[in-house]
Symmetry: C2
Subunit: 191 residues, 2 copies
Amino acid sequence: MGRPKQFEPDVAVDQAMQVFWRQGYATTTPQELARELGIGKGSLYNAFTSKHRLFEMALRRYGEMRVAALEEILERPGPVKPLLRAALQRMAAVPDDALRHGCLAVNTAAELAGKDEIATEVVSAVFSRMERALRNAVERARRNGEIDASCDPDGVAGMLLSVVVGMNVLAKTGGEPQRRLRAVDAALAAL
Amino acid sequence: MGRPKQFEPDVAVDQAMQVFWRQGYATTTPQELARELGIGKGSLYNAFTSKHRLFEMALRRYGEMRVAALEEILERPGPVKPLLRAALQRMAAVPDDALRHGCLAVNTAAELAGKDEIATEVVSAVFSRMERALRNAVERARRNGEIDASCDPDGVAGMLLSVVVGMNVLAKTGGEPQRRLRAVDAALAAL
DNA sequence: CAGATTCTTTACCCATAGGTCAAAAAGAGG
DNA sequence: CCTCTTTTTGACCTATGGGTAAAGAATCTG
């Protein structure tokens, strides 16, 4: 009962995600959020308590999305190498024109890790899950005989995650997408 | 002539570099800078014009340092692979206890690339020079016969740079330094 | 329709950001 | 020791940050 909300909280969190993604946490202001979500500042605080909580919700949702997308690709049946290549290429392929704001998790790690406990924990969890998905894939490839048995799945997974994270940062500074694809190939040559 | 400065501008830029490194650009305030540099806010503005200009100077200096350090290692005589390993390990080896604020260039790329023209240009230049140093090393190794002639130096250099950048981000979220060293080894396995 | 309850609106609040300015202080040159 | 120049100090300023509160609007229950 009571007056019904005039906006969809889920949609609002998505929109907030976009804003934080574009601008970062510190440089995003409540008024900006209110404007972009199309609601008053008061409603915003009533619904989400604080800028920080809204950010947390947006970040968590973002993490779920990305992890799920990665797992979806890597768990497909068949040979693993092409899957890894597809996954990395997709993560490396920043559309180049618009949406060059990198990855929200990476940006957040750079901006807040070590300073904001919650943000640190969330991005840390995201990275761990991605690494695990990569490690699982590598192990599967090893059992398949696709790659050499002597390789260290842990090390390789960490390396692949680093590559992806690094490329997301580098993509923000310019550079052609094609170069990134070559870097992906070089990384996969380690298998 | 005129009253002499009561502080060494070079030293002040170094100190400012530390502050921006720890805290990022946006979250560092003029009063904080003044306090850390041990000078009044007025002096700060008199000497450096604006927070942004001071940041630019600090960032440029930081870039010079890191690029020079990397080149110094990679240009040593002898086999290249151990040099690459040493260079990457050094860049990956965040002391873990203190100084876990990553790399100023990486942090800046994540925070400001695409929004701040000057910052973007500076970090972009730093990354380019690092990549070039890495590429030179890889080419040398290829000429030496240390690594396979079929490898793509451009792609490998881009990959190695990505690894380093990525690890600097990941290091901020925790994780043991040892894992990073294994990731470095995995990356070098691509050679 | 009354009341309870929840949302929205608008005005308001304090602290800080980033910076400026006038006046005082400390040297150099004559 | 007087002036000219540059630094420093400290007060001051405007805009905005992040957030709160009080009053009004919309819905459900009875």
